[in-house]
Each structure stands twice: as structure tokens, then as C-alpha cells.
């Protein structure tokens, strides 16, 4: 009889848990800019001394292809290009760490499968907007990157916006070259 009650209790607890998960509310304020959005803007934007929007958009599309991206979507009338690519995401240090954890697990009699959670493949999305500046005498290019990382078991490990300044720096260095090449018709 007591056992039966125990089961009943267990079911009630599970139901309550499911109910709570189902009703989880949406956090507030996620459409507010965070405090360092101006820094992000600095990182993601460059101005070019030209008024030829088409030339810059063409250079951007060419550069994305140079970087191994494929174009997903574009609307050149608003100066928009979106592209993506899949790439390797394995990190030797992380793999070595996972193997160490797994080996220790085997030695001390536990199953960890840390190796199965190691980063494996990443999907990087780039979106570029080309538009005139407020004065209308220069062209502003803004790029943003996002990535989704899968582990070896095929599950999503994490999703994130790319914040690394070096990546943006390199993109704009390459873009300057691409604009030059475009101007020289190469």
C-alpha cells in the first residue's frame, strides 16, 4: 500500500515538473541593446571613400566566396548579402582533455563520454549590409557573424555571436583588397 503511494507521489512530482517546464516564461528586455553595443558597432563597421554602392556589394559577395562561403540570400536594393559555410571546429587541446577525462573515467570505473561532447563541426553565418552614411558621401559596410557548433555525437554544443575582433579585422582587410581588385577588374 505504501509503495503505491510512493508511485503516486512520483507521478505527481513528474507532472508538476513537466508543467513548470511547459510554462517557462520568456525573459524580459532581450530587445534592448546591451551596454557595449557601440563597441560592437565599431568592430563590425567600416567606411569606404566611395559612393558606388553596387561596386562595394559586388566586392563583398566576391570576398565571401573567396572565404569559402556560399550565398544564401541577397537584396542588393537595400545592400544586403547573407552567406554561410560549414567548417571544422575540432580543437586539439579540447580533444586531448576529453580523452584524458575518458581514460580516467575508465580507470576509476565510470563512463564519461567526454569525447562524444567535443566540438566537431561549425556552421558560420555572415550577413553584410552596405549603405550610404548619414552625410551620403561615403559607403558604410557592416558585417555580423554567428556560429553554431556541433559535437562529435551530432548534438548542438553551443550557439553564439562571433565577438573576436581579429575575425572582423581580417574580414575588412580582405575587403579592402577585394575592392581594389574589383576596381582593377580582376
Amino acid at each position: 500500500m505504501r509503495k503505491k503511494f510512493l508511485f503516486l507521489k512520483l507521478f505527481v512530482v513528474i507532472f508538476v515538473c513537466l508543467g513548470v517546464i511547459g510554462c517557462s516564461s520568456i525573459p524580459k528586455g532581450f530587445l534592448k541593446p546591451d551596454e557595449n553595443y557601440l563597441e560592437a558597432r565599431q568592430l563590425q563597421m567600416r567606411q569606404y571613400d566611395t559612393t558606388n554602392e553596387v561596386q562595394i556589394v559586388t566586392a563583398v559577395a566576391g570576398l565571401l566566396q573567396d572565404l569559402g562561403f556560399t550565398l544564401d540570400n541577397s537584396e542588393t536594393d537595400v545592400g544586403f548579402v547573407a552567406a554561410s559555410r560549414k567548417a571544422d571546429a575540432t580543437n586539439a587541446g579540447q580533444v586531448a582533455g576529453a580523452i584524458l577525462v575518458d581514460t580516467l573515467g575508465i580507470l576509476f570505473g565510470g563512463y564519461q563520454n567526454a569525447y562524444g561532447k567535443v566540438d566537431s563541426v561549425q556552421y558560420v553565418k555572415a550577413s553584410v549590409i552596405v549603405k550610404p552614411n548619414l552625410e551620403g558621401n561615403k559607403i558604410v559596410v557592416r558585417v555580423t557573424f554567428q556560429r553554431i557548433i556541433w559535437n562529435i555525437s551530432g548534438q548542438i554544443n553551443r550557439v553564439e555571436s562571433v565577438k573576436d575582433p581579429k575575425i572582423y579585422q581580417k574580414f575588412f582587410d580582405d575587403l579592402s583588397k577585394a575592392i581594389f581588385l574589383e576596381a582593377q577588374k580582376i
Binding site: K3, K4, F7, F11, I26, P27, K28, G29, F30, L31, K32, P33, D34, Y37, A40, R41, Q44, D72, N73, E75, D77, V78, G79, F80, A82, K125, A126, S127, I129, K131, R142, T144, F145, Q146, I156, R158, V159, E160, S161
Partner: protein
């Protein structure tokens, strides 16, 4: 005997759960919203005193980028912009549409989804329009 009884009660419980979840039609859930259509529109829509659709779209895009969205799609004819933002493991997808209203105004409507839930909180949309106002140097007007 007692084991048999216990097992049978577990089976009954499982059957109950399966039957409860199995009977519900889930397709209708995709068309549900908790707010009324009219109220939802007024929460999600603002009017601006400008007719430059292209510039409005570009400002919408740069506002979304300031909010950490990556733009997935844009279409000048429809006036639509769609972007994605990640917070932790949650994905936020937002579509903003720009369309003319009369001769002198543009209507901007934002539509956000947080994971599998539609965002229907007025304050959240107000945050977006506040940012948009700042980038536009124009005042957002409530539409009835």
C-alpha cells in the same frame, strides 16, 4: 502478486500518459495566440512620419544589428527583414515589415519568436521601437 500489481499500475499510468498526449491535435497549436488579433497588432506596430521605405529598412536592419541579430533575409518589395539572435541556448527570430500607410507615413511591424513561443509582451516590442526611434531621429506613433 504484489509485484504484478505494482507493474500493472505502472502500465496503466504509462498508458494514460500516452493516451493523453496522443489524442491532442497539435496542428492547431501552430495557429494559436493568447492575445486578440487587434491587440497584438497594436503591440507590434508603430507608424513613422516618413515615406522613404529603403532608408527605413536599412535603419531597421542596423537597429537589429545593434541588438545582436544576424540578418537572414531581406526583401525591398515586401519590406520585410528577418534576423536571428542567440541568447545562451535560446534562439530568437524576428521579422520586421515596413509598408506604406497613406501618403505620408510608414507602418513598421515587428514579430518576434523566442524558441517555440511567440513574444506577446508589449514592453519587449516597446524596447525595439525605442531603439529604432533613436536611430531614425523620428517619433514612433502608436497605431489604433
Amino acid at each position: 502478486m504484489s509485484i504484478l500489481k505494482r507493474l500493472s499500475s505502472v502500465f496503466i499510468a504509462i498508458l494514460l500518459i500516452v493516451s493523453i498526449s496522443g489524442c491532442a491535435t497539435t496542428a492547431s497549436k501552430a495557429f494559436e495566440s493568447s492575445e486578440s488579433q487587434v491587440k497584438l497588432r497594436s503591440i507590434q506596430t508603430r507608424a513613422f512620419d516618413t515615406t522613404d521605405k529603403k532608408k527605413m529598412m536599412q535603419t531597421v536592419i542596423s537597429t537589429m544589428q545593434d541588438l545582436d541579430f544576424v540578418i537572414d533575409k531581406a526583401d525591398l518589395t515586401l519590406g520585410s527583414v528577418t534576423g536571428t539572435k542567440f541568447i545562451g541556448y535560446a534562439t530568437i527570430v524576428m521579422t520586421v515589415t515596413v509598408r506604406p500607410r497613406g501618403e505620408k507615413q510608414l507602418l513598421v511591424r515587428a514579430n518576434a519568436q523566442y524558441g517555440i513561443q511567440s513574444v506577446e509582451d508589449p514592453a519587449t516590442y516597446q524596447d525595439f521601437f525605442t531603439s529604432l526611434e533613436k536611430s531614425l531621429f523620428l517619433t514612433a506613433q502608436q497605431v489604433d
